[in-house]
């Protein structure tokens, strides 16, 4: 690429051009002023030539042609180093103006990162950077250490109106007015002089001017004298298309007409003048000068000899103590001349020559330690390298060298360093080394905030443009730059840079940086008074949970201040405080399903449905056939949306979350809803939709909307709360429609710190729908928030009075269910179902006013056994139907007793469903259900266990061991009564009550055991005689306590106890069908001390413990007992003693049994016994058992008495069984039979009559095949020990 066409090349061709110094009289200015221009301004547009085509020769006579050329015109007063203050002011003006221009863009949308990356450099960079850089470079002009700003020629201008123009020309070039450069000897005062006389055509014909011109020609020479006639247009109304002066006149107001008096002739004249000036005077002069200087330089410095001499000479000068800037070089010194030669050559595009001279002089300056000059030459070397487009490395090295050297020279060099830096940057940019360019920008940013702001911003764009783009550095430098802009009060620029940096940070999680950026933008906007923009940015920092608490408070304070400044109620669509947990949204509405408590709404719908199944008329049952339209049942106008009822609130629960550590106050939290009222006429429904949009922006603001909300078609609840730091809260909101129609819940709104209104739309977030009864099809979230509001129907409210939350196990309490009907319509056909009848049962209307627990006491004092009638033990009713005539009238309440029995420890949820039908047949709904949920926690109280074992001494009697342990930690219980319930079972104490169980009080943690006897009721016979069925349950009670209750007994067969007992029986699995071998126990007790735990019911109550299905059956259905004398006196001298015994057999099985008794004459050996035991153990082995037969054979063989000897070794004297050695009887079921037995005793002693075996087998009817297979159908039993003592009678 041609270096001249690069930005830097163009800049150099623009800036490093010959300077023409202009000296003029005031009258000249006056003439030009008519056009609104100064003389220099008038000429400037014509001083740059694109095709001047001047032939030039290099120093070595190489011809070439200059095409583009430019002259810079300056008044002599301007040819001096600009004042730093003024220059800075000027630069500041430039920036401020640019900022003003940008203001319109401040609120516009910012490009995204991708857009920035895809757009070209010129699109990204603000255009005023170039202008600024040019201005910045210009502030460094006319330095004495470089020659390209030194005037090449001097143009003296005199007006034709001036008196004695010739003398004026001489006066003008008076050294007093000349710039210091010429006066202090930095440059050659012998300068090319050109003389120009300006004539204003409005002052008359140019004859006088021409006369003067001729005079001048004779005085100054014809070549250097010129005449310029201007203002040829009389009217001053010349319009210039593309006014050439506009770009040069920055502060021109648009109404000012520039060059109004200059017509086309003037144009051409000016053009001709400047072209002459350049081509005929300046360029040839410079060419000549280059030639002359080159010869001089060659003569003094070129060649080996000169170099040595020069070196030696400079070495010698080294000792001279000198200023930091090295020696002063006047124009006549060879160093200055070389520099001038280089600069002239550069300006004439003879870069080779320029470079060689720069090289030459740079070493000299270096040796002289003239650092500023050295840096200047290095700078020019770099540029020359660039223009030659060779040796990039060297060019960069030179630039860096120049930059660093300038910096070394102290504060004055800073500005020069900036200039060389800018050139360096341009050079790097041309070569696409943006990253390095950014580094240079960073280095030239300097101390002064405004300056560094601009440089940093330019650096940031370099990072953006570098390949690959360094976006984070781009953002960082923008922020740095914005910070500097802010320091220098350029807020608009600061906002611009910060806003750009947002595009980099957007979508990242660098929240500290984001907060910083947004917060400052917000603050700055509010400085500028753009409060809306300020608020929108401050919103971004509100949910700054990661910041420290003080920062959060600060952010919040500023935000609220800004909001106040806006002066109006601020509404924000997405206020980030508090955070709304959209997934927590729960909508609870009641159609035919109503809920008694909020807890009941939280239960799974399927659970309710499974409970409801039996009581709610199912849809298919309601219609006769499938052709009938379903809407007969419930006419739903729109099946896609949910139903709700006028006057009944829809509850919406949503979680608010505070991400901050400080608590935030919220007020006016309410729902936003729309309700479209529907006219009654269903046909014209579509036409008469009167939409009432209440979330209209206008109505939203008016606070009185809440006050006269009875005018609106729905009522909203209003919640006020304070969210603690880091806290989250479920907020319950309700909307109550007042008219029929379609209600839509749009969102939620709240007022934050009583100044900012925030909205949140539900539809945008995801909605979790919990109450979706019946309809399985998925609905869109919007649909689930849409409701059909239908006409009012009665609604029952129900609760259970004084239901405790915590009870001890066993507690029996009377409760009351209260139902209230708030509407004027009555409801009927009440049904109820309870999920756990074990814990909660429905009482009888009679119970309502009864005195509990006295009502349970036995009416008669007799200890008569009560028989539970069999029909009372039908299965517990699943669904309780209230009496037919039960109607809950409007505005009345209805009471019904309930019984609570804390059956088992643990936590239990009681679900209660109440069904009712609406009397009004025209109603939308035929029925509704009320769902109630109660949670009960049951603590363990008494641990009761029973063990039943057969009593060996008596037939049909059993020993019952009752173990009671008090498991509570604080409560003491008084055991009152034990009842047994079973088939003809009767319980009794082993000993009288008062002897042992004087005080069966169980302290906490105490355990207690007692033995009881369970025996068959004697009424068995009577019952059989009456012919009543066997399956009747008998209740027998014993009082275990003598204290309390005045010795009263409670009747376990009365309603609540009986009902719960039945449920308990069911609960334990077995069928209700009685088994005569089973017995149930009911233990009744009550707490003693009044010291109660909080939360636990302290009402007077009974405790009952039900132990069901305790088996009394022993291993064998056959039991027997041997009855007879125990002590006999006999005179053995007369005869042996015969003893008659009686064996009583009892068959407890329900089948006839065949029993065989074998008497043995020998006591068994251990072997036989063990075998017998094994037989017993595996009693299932049916039939006669071989072993016993063997032993029988053995026994018969032993009859001969051979075995007397082993027996005699025993202490007992022998005895023999007499009578039949084997008896077989048939025992009918449940019957007793006596068998006579006889033994003969031969000598006095004590005998164990246990050596007999009883074998039994049940004769099962065929149809009962394997019924009761758990029990053996046959077995063999060893006889019980029966000790008989026979004494010799005296």
């Amino acid at each position: 690429m041609d270096p001249a066409r690069t930005p830097l090349g163009r800049m150099l061709l623009d800036e490093i051009t010959p300077v023409v110094m202009v000296l003029r009289t005031p009258l000249v200015e006056e003439a030009c002023g008519k056009n609104g221009l100064s003389f220099v301004e008038m000429l400037s547009p014509f001083c740059s030539f694109s095709n001047i085509d001047v032939p030039v020769r290099t120093a070595s006579d190489q011809p070439y042609r200059l095409q583009k050329f430019k002259l810079r015109l300056f008044y002599s007063s301007d040819i001096r180093q600009p004042d730093v203050q003024v220059a800075n002011e000027r630069l500041k003006d430039v920036i401020t103006q640019a900022g003003e221009k940008d203001l319109s863009n401040l609120s516009s949308e910012l490009p995204q990162v991708d857009e920035l990356l895809s757009s070209s450099e010129s699109d990204i960079m603000p255009s005023w950077f170039q202008f600024f850089n040019k201005e910045l470079i210009r502030t460094m002009s006319f330095s004495d250490h470089e020659a390209f700003d030194h005037p090449v020629a001097c143009l003296l201008v005199v007006s034709s109106k001036d008196e004695q123009p010739i003398n004026r020309f001489v006066d003008l070039f008076n050294s007093d007015q000349l710039p210091s450069l010429l006066n202090d000897g930095a440059m050659d005062p012998k300068i090319l002089k050109l003389y120009l006389i300006v004539h204003d055509n409005q002052d008359g014909a140019p004859e006088k001017a021409k006369k003067f011109h001729n005079e001048m020609r004779s005085t100054f020479g014809s070549n250097s004298s010129q005449l310029l006639c201007i203002n040829s247009s009389q009217g001053g109304l010349v319009e210039h298309l593309q006014n050439p002066w506009a770009p040069f006149k920055t502060d021109a107001s648009p109404t000012q007409r520039l060059g109004g008096f200059l017509n086309i002739d003037d144009f051409n004249e000016i053009k001709k003048l400047t072209q002459d000036l350049a081509s005929k005077h300046v360029i040839p002069y410079m060419e000549e000068k280059v030639r002359v200087l080159n010869q001089q330089v060659s003569a003094t410095r070129k060649g080996f000899k000169n170099q040595i001499k020069n070196l030696w000479w400079r070495k010698g000068k080294e000792d001279t103590p000198d200023a930091s800037n090295g020696p002063v070089y006047t124009f006549s010194s060879i160093e200055s001349q070389i520099r001038v030669l280089g600069d002239y050559a550069f300006m004439l595009r003879d870069y080779e020559l320029a470079l060689s001279n720069y090289r030459l002089i740079s070493t000299d300056y270096k040796l002289d330690k003239a650092w500023k000059r050295y840096a200047g030459v290095q700078e020019m070397m770099g540029l020359t390298f660039f223009m030659l487009d060779q040796s990039r490395k060297e060019a960069e090295y030179c630039m860096e060298n120049a930059f660093n050297t300038y910096l070394k020279t102290g504060p004055t060099g800073q500005q020069n360093a900036t200039r060389s830096g800018l050139w360096w940057v341009e050079m790097l940019k041309t070569r696409d080394q943006f990253k390095e360019a950014a580094g240079v920008y960073f280095r030239i940013s300097g101390e002064e905030p405004l300056h560094s702001a601009v440089m940093l911003e330019q650096a940031s764009y370099c990072y953006l443009l570098s390949k690959p783009p360094m976006l984070r550095k781009f953002g960082f430098h923008l922020i740095l730059s914005g910070n500097q802009y802010k320091k220098s009060d350029q807020i608009k620029h600061a906002i611009r840079t910060y806003r750009r940096s947002i595009s980099v940070l957007k979508g990242t999680t660098w929240s500290y940086i984001q907060d910083h950026v947004h917060f400052h933008i917000g603050q700055w906007y509010s400085f500028l008074g753009l409060y809306d923009s300020a608020v929108s940015h401050l919103l971004e920092v509100l949910s700054c949970g990661h910041q420290s608490k003080t920062t959060q408070e600060f952010f919040l304070k500023i935000f609220l201040q800004t909001v106040q400044k806006t002066g109006k109620a601020c509404q924000v669509m997405r206020l980030p405080l508090p955070v709304i947990n959209s997934s927590s949204l729960k909508v609870v509405f009641e159609d035919h399903r109503t809920y008694a408590s909020p807890a009941a709404t939280g239960v799974r719908e399927s659970l309710w449905q499974s409970l409801e199944e039996e009581i709610v008329p199912s849809l298919p049952a309601a219609r006769a056939n499938w052709l009938e339209v379903q809407s007969n049942f419930t006419s739903k106008p729109n099946k896609n949306s949910n139903m709700c009822i006028v006057g009944e609130a829809i509850k919406v629960a949503i979680e608010f979350q505070n991400p901050l550590q400080i608590s935030i106050p919220l007020s006016d939290v309410s729902l936003m809803c729309e309700l479209c009222a529907r006219s009654d006429d269903a046909d014209s429904e579509a036409n008469s939709l009167t939409a009432e949009l209440q979330n209209d922006e206008a109505t939203m603001l008016t606070t009185d909307r809440f006050l006269n909300s009875d005018m609106s078609s729905f009522a909203l609840s209003n919640v006020e709360l304070t969210l603690e730091g880091g806290g989250r809260k479920m907020v319950q909101l309700t909307v109550t429609p007042r008219v029929e129609g379609t209600l839509k819940i749009v969102g939620v709104k709240w007022k934050f710190s009583s100044s900012v209104v925030g909205f949140h739309n539900f539809v945008t977030g995801s909605v979790k729908k919990i109450q979706k009864g019946g309809k399985k099809n998925k609905q869109s979230p919007a649909d689930s928030l849409k409701f059909d509001v239908v006409k009012t129907v009665p609604r029952l409210e129900g609760f259970i009075q004084s239901l405790p939350e915590k009870v001890y196990a066993g507690e029996l309490q009377q409760l009351t269910l209260e139902l209230n009907n708030k509407s004027h319509l009555s409801v009927k056909n009440l049904k109820m179902k309870i999920s756990h009848p074990r814990y909660l049962n429905i009482g009888n209307q009679r119970n309502l006013n009864m005195d509990y627990p006295a009502c349970l006491e036995k009416k008669t004092n007799s200890a008569e056994k009560t028989i539970l009638e069999p029909h009372t033990i039908n299965a517990p009713r699943n669904v309780f139907l209230f009496p037919e005539d039960t109607v809950v009238q409007g505005d009345t309440s209805f009471l019904w007793p309930l019984w609570l029995h804390a059956a088992a420890p643990g936590k239990v949820s009681l679900y209660i469903i109440l069904y009712y039908e609406i009397e009004n047949p025209e109603s939308f709904m035929k029925y509704r259900t009320l769902r109630m949920l109660y949670n009960l926690e049951i603590f363990p109280s008494l641990d009761v266990s029973f063990q039943i074992s057969a009593c060996p001494s008596t037939l049909e009697e059993f020993l019952v061991r009752m173990d009671i342990a008090n498991k509570t930690s604080t409560r003491n219980f008084q055991i009152h009564q034990l009842s047994s319930i079973g088939y003809q079972w009767e319980i009794s104490l082993l000993q009288p009550t008062d002897s042992i169980y004087a005080s069966p009080t169980l302290m906490s943690g105490q355990a207690f055991s007692c033995y009881l006897i369970l025996k068959k009721s004697k009424r068995l016979d009577r019952a059989e005689a009456n012919g009543s069925p066997v399956c009747s349950l008998t209740v027998s009670d014993i009082q275990l306590s003598t204290e309390g209750a005045g010795g009263k007994m409670y009747d376990s067969s009365l309603s609540p106890v009986k009902d719960f007992h039945n449920v308990e029986r069911l609960q334990h699995g077995k069928s209700l069908e009685g088994d005569s071998n089973m017995v149930d126990f009911v233990l009744i007790y009550w707490p003693l001390d009044s010291e109660t735990d909080p939360g636990v019911s302290d009402r007077p109550s009974l405790f009952s413990h039900h132990e069901c299905h305790c088996s009394v059956a022993s291993t064998s259905p056959i039991s027997w007992v041997v009855e007879g004398p125990r002590l006999i006196h006999h005179d053995f001298s007369t005869s042996f003693c015969e003893v008659t015994l009686k064996m009583a057999l009892y068959n407890s099985a329900d089948a006839a049994a065949s029993v065989r008794i074998n008497t043995l004459d020998l006591s068994r050996n251990g072997d036989a016994q063990s075998r017998d035991e094994s037989t017993l153990a595996s009693g299932k082995q049916a039939g006669w058992y071989n072993v016993s037969l063997d032993s029988e054979i053995k026994v018969t063989s032993d009859v001969s008495g051979i075995q007397m000897k082993p027996l005699s070794s025993d202490s007992a004297s022998p005895f023999v069984w007499t009578g039949s050695s084997s008896t077989k009887v048939r025992l009918p079921p449940l019957s007793t039979l006596g068998i006579p037995l006889q033994i003969c005793v031969f000598s006095p002693g004590t005998y164990d009559l246990s050596n007999y075996i009883l074998q039994w087998s049940l004769v099962l009817p065929d149809d009962q095949g394997n019924h009761g297979e758990t029990r053996p159908s046959s077995g063999t039993c060893q006889g019980y020990s029966y000790f008989l003592t026979v004494l010799q009678s005296t």
Partner: protein, 143 residues
């Protein structure tokens, strides 16, 4: 002295930034760490510059800012560790050693079953072990 250590996730999201200075310069350090990601990206994308070793996790001196030196380390899950120090002459070996220990601590922290990958590291144990490592670094470089 180590001024700041940071863990940055593979999507260049900050996982852990801890400064060890008294001054309130959290924002500055955030900026420094954020910017150094550009340099890491550059190093990773131009492996020629970063050295001969292909599997080298230590990225070396990322860039010297005015007062700080920034070192980087890239794990094979593209998690970056960044160390900002005010020490002017730091031995590479020390920094390598530091990063190796830091990497181990990080591994322990993310092995916690309650740590959600890609979320900020909130483990107190990690913070403690990091501060131990940082203190140890100061000792080794001083001594």
């Amino acid at each position: 002295m180590i001024v700041c250590v940071a863990v940055v996730g593979h999507q260049n999201n900050p996982l852990y930034i801890q400064s060890f200075t008294e001054a309130d310069d959290a924002l500055k350090l955030h900026h420094i760490v954020h910017c150094s990601l550009d340099v890491i990206d550059e190093r990773v994308n131009n492996p020629k510059k970063s050295g001969p070793l292909l599997n080298e996790t230590f990225l070396g001196l990322l860039y010297p800012t005015e007062n700080y030196k920034v070192y980087g380390y890239l794990t094979n899950t593209k998690v970056k560790f960044i160390l900002v120090t005010t020490d002017l002459d730091v031995k590479d070996a020390d920094v390598r050693n530091f990063f190796r220990r830091f990497h181990a601590a990080y591994g322990d922290a993310v092995s916690n079953p309650f740590h959600v990958p890609g979320k900020k590291i909130t483990s107190r144990t990690f913070a403690e072990s990091v501060s131990t490592i940082v203190k140890a670094f100061g000792l080794s470089s001083a001594g």
